[in-house]
């Protein structure tokens, strides 16, 4: 390159790298880069200087001066003697709480509640103590199995599982089970009070499980979480991104041959939940794998799932709280007519409902629809959200704004449909053929309330709203699949492979895998999406 060209190139490149180049400058720079590989190397050389300067020693901030008894640093042994004092202070703080709420018995059935009412299990707390007089009556008014706390001041809880938890004043924490919850904002400190007790804190794809300990978890930003162990040890785990239950409908043995005369392959292959079908269901060639189910739309077209239920709402394998995904491959033949409904998946514990179905409500039920949409045929994703109630995401099948039309879905070809809800983002979404088509946002930390004694069904709702067409590869997840995961699943299915490669079906496989253990006095930061230490 001519030296004058190099000067021009470097001047333009610097402006581009620092975001001060005009559109004309960008076009001139582009012409220079297109003309010569040497120009591209020069540009990238300068770009690397710009990129790597932040990693030089000169860019490092001055080391902070720690006060005596300051926050612990990684493997800061000098801090160790103070950890027991902190843990003890937490326990004392619980004892002097100014407001105590006992939440033990299940709530009574409300007067005038309709038939089909299922009582929810109680909130998994025995005590809520608010140290600074903040009247959080909200908790008492909503003793639901899943409840999100958004305290304004430091708030102390005792979980049924036996852990004392101190929530920071700016935190958002979802109580999910008797021995664990989800941290959405801020930080908390937890300490188990009995040797047999346990407690875990989940942040999206990461879970911190105590091993007889006191520990802190803080959200650094939207992506990172810091774990500090005050006493004992914790295990940090990453989520195995596999379904809770999966119905591939492939006959045994899987050998590629279509099996249309033997018993219907209805069982979930992960948790062993057995299915029973009505006479309106028949085996057919698989859209993925060797088998699928054809539903004839009559009242006998249903598959009922045994198991996965709980005694009360909020319990059971098929209960979900922090997130959910329903996935299926379908060839629908739904009419789209008003008051016609075709269910894909539904678990209906009264108002605590999880469903994915084709619906046309006409002008009715608009109060349950968020966001509001015009009447007409839609793909509907219904959930009961704690503190909000039952809402449906009704995606109009109108062929507008990237949404499929009913005719698109009725083209006789298989379509991959996925419904997701993620409490960590608040987003409820519907994907068709690997692409996000429709979504609605709720506050971050909104939990699902689902599960209970009612049986889940595929292709029907209690013998009604029967599906017409083919259903294959139904999977239920207890977390929200990410958009790129959905796209990957679709690509796999397009190749005739299962959406998720779970290997040989392993019943009751672990749902979390260990990333590392952290000992007292140590602090580590993790990316909550990848599970990798930062």
């Amino acid at each position: 390159m001519h030296p004058a060209d190099t000067d021009t190139l470097l001047a333009l490149a610097d402006d581009h790298l620092t975001g001060t180049a005009s559109p004309d400058d960008v076009r001139r720079l582009e012409a220079l880069l297109a003309a010569s590989p040497a120009a591209r190397r020069t540009y990238l050389g300068l770009a690397l200087v710009h990129a790597q300067l932040g990693a030089t020693l000169a860019a490092l901030p001055s080391p902070p001066t720690l006060r005596s008894g300051g926050a612990p640093t990684r493997r800061d042994a000098s801090w160790l003697p103070t950890r027991r004092i902190v843990a003890a202070a937490m326990a004392c703080a619980l004892a002097i709480g100014s407001f105590v709420l006992i939440v033990s018995p299940p709530p009574p059935r409300p007067a005038g509640s309709p038939d089909g009412y299922y009582p929810p299990r109680p909130l998994a707390l025995s005590t809520v103590a608010l140290l600074e007089g903040d009247d959080d009556a909200d908790v008492a008014a909503r003793p639901l199995p899943t409840t999100t706390l958004r305290p304004l001041v430091t708030t102390h809880l005792r979980a049924h599982g036996g852990a004392d938890v101190a929530l920071d004043g700016d935190s958002v924490f979802g109580i999910v089970t008797r021995d664990g919850g989800a941290l959405y904002e801020g930080g908390l400190q937890a300490r188990v009070t009995q040797p047999a007790a346990t407690f875990s804190v989940t942040t999206a794809n990461l879970r911190v499980v105590d091993r007889g300990t006191a520990f802190r978890v803080d959200r650094v930003d939207g992506d990172h979480v810091t774990v500090t162990v005050l006493d004992g040890e914790v295990e940090v785990q990453a989520r195995m991104r596999l379904p809770v239950a999966w119905w591939p409908f492939d006959p045994e043995p899987a050998g590629g041959a279509r099996e249309t005369t033997g018993p219907l392959p209805l069982d979930d292959v992960l948790a062993g939940l057995a299915g029973t079908a009505g006479r309106g269901v028949a085996a057919c060639g698989g859209l993925v794998g060797t088998g699928a189910l054809r539903f004839d739309g009559t009242p006998a077209a249903h598959v009922r799932i045994a198991g996965g239920t709980g005694h009360v709402v909020g319990d059971g394998l098929l209960a979900v709280a922090e997130g959910v995904s329903i996935e299926a491959v379908i060839v629908p033949e739904w009419t789209g007519h008003e008051s016609d409904y075709d269910e894909i998946y539904r678990k209906d514990d009264g108002e605590y409902r999880v469903l994915l179905s084709f619906q046309n409500d006409g002008a009715r039920n608009a109060a349950f629809t968020a966001p509001p949409v015009a009447p007409g045929p839609c793909l509907s994703f219904g959930l009961h959200l704690a503190g909000i109630g039952y809402h449906e995401l009704d995606m109009p099948l109108d062929g507008r704004d990237g949404r499929p039309s009913l005719a698109d879905l009725r083209d006789g070809r298989p379509h991959h449909v996925v419904a997701t809800f993620d409490s960590y983002t608040g987003t409820k979404a519907l994907f068709v053929d690997g692409t996000l088509r429709f979504a609605h946002d709720y506050p971050v930390g909104t939990l699902v309330l689902a599960g209970g004694p009612a049986a889940a069904e595929i292709g029907s709702h209690r013998g009604l709203e029967n599906f017409t067409g083919v259903i294959d590869e139904v999977a239920l997840y207890d977390f929200a699949l990410a958009p790129d995961e959905v796209a990957e699943h679709r690509r796999r299915i397009a190749m005739g492979e299962p959406a998720v490669d779970v290997g040989p079906p392993a019943r009751n496989a672990p749902r979390w895998r260990s990333v590392t253990r952290i000992r007292a006095g140590e602090t580590m930061t993790f990316n909550q999406h990848t599970g990798l230490p930062r």
Binding site: L10, H16, G19, E30, G45, T56, D484, G531
Partner: protein
């Protein structure tokens, strides 16, 4: 509606990423840790904005883990990871394609190819840069600390130094240019050990 995406359902003849086996985690961590710095440098070279580069790096890390099962254990992990990162970078720019400050896709693809070639020297470049920075004046190093370390804006630095914002921008520009030349000279020296001393960057800040 997006008919292209919709009507071509189930016809993708592409190799499909599969989730890794549970026991692959440690293997992944070892390989990932060894390539992390070069991967980050590759992305930063193609995505100048630090926050955007962090997003792309995170998306790349996630994509690597999710498709780790497709990686041949006897293969070159860094080369494979750079291929994944290249895709993520192009996806990032594709999302911003309406911005008239963004290069065309053809140029971005050429730059990504060239950046892959430069990766082998990324560690040497970092060491050379460190040596060049070491030779700067205290004031120049303070400028690096503030702008690249503390991420202070030029306006904040200008106030602290009682200079104009324009003067700070100009100092940074001169500094980068000097360091770029210094790094190139040092790398050339590595290729030609008898080539003589390396001149230090000219004072600019």
């Amino acid at each position: 509606m997006d008919t292209a995406a919709h009507t071509d359902a189930f016809v993708f003849p592409v190799a499909l990423p599969m989730p890794p086996a549970p026991d692959a985690y440690e293997s992944f961590l070892v390989l990932y840790a060894g390539s992390q710095a070069r991967l980050h440098a590759f992305i930063r070279a193609l995505v100048p904005d630090a926050a955007q580069a962090d997003d792309v790096f995170q998306a790349t890390s996630l994509a690597l883990w999710r498709s780790f099962a497709t990686f041949r254990r006897d293969g070159d992990f860094t080369a494979w990871a750079v291929g994944v990162a290249r895709h993520q970078v192009l996806m990032h720019w594709r999302r911003l394609r309406r911005d008239r400050h963004v290069f065309s896709e053809a140029i971005l693809a050429d730059l990504a190819d060239t950046a892959s070639d430069l990766l082998d020297s990324a560690d040497a470049r970092q060491r050379a840069l460190e040596a060049c920075v070491e030779a700067l004046t205290a004031r120049q190093r303070d400028l690096i600390r503030r702008f690249y370390g503390e991420r202070e804006s030029a306006a904040v630095i200008a106030r602290a130094w009682n200079r104009t914002v324009h003067a700070v921008y100009k100092s940074l520009k001169v500094l980068r240019r000097s360091l770029h030349e210094c790094v190139d000279r040092r790398l050339a020296l590595l290729d030609d050990p008898d080539g003589g001393d390396v001149a230090m960057p000219a004072p600019g800040a």
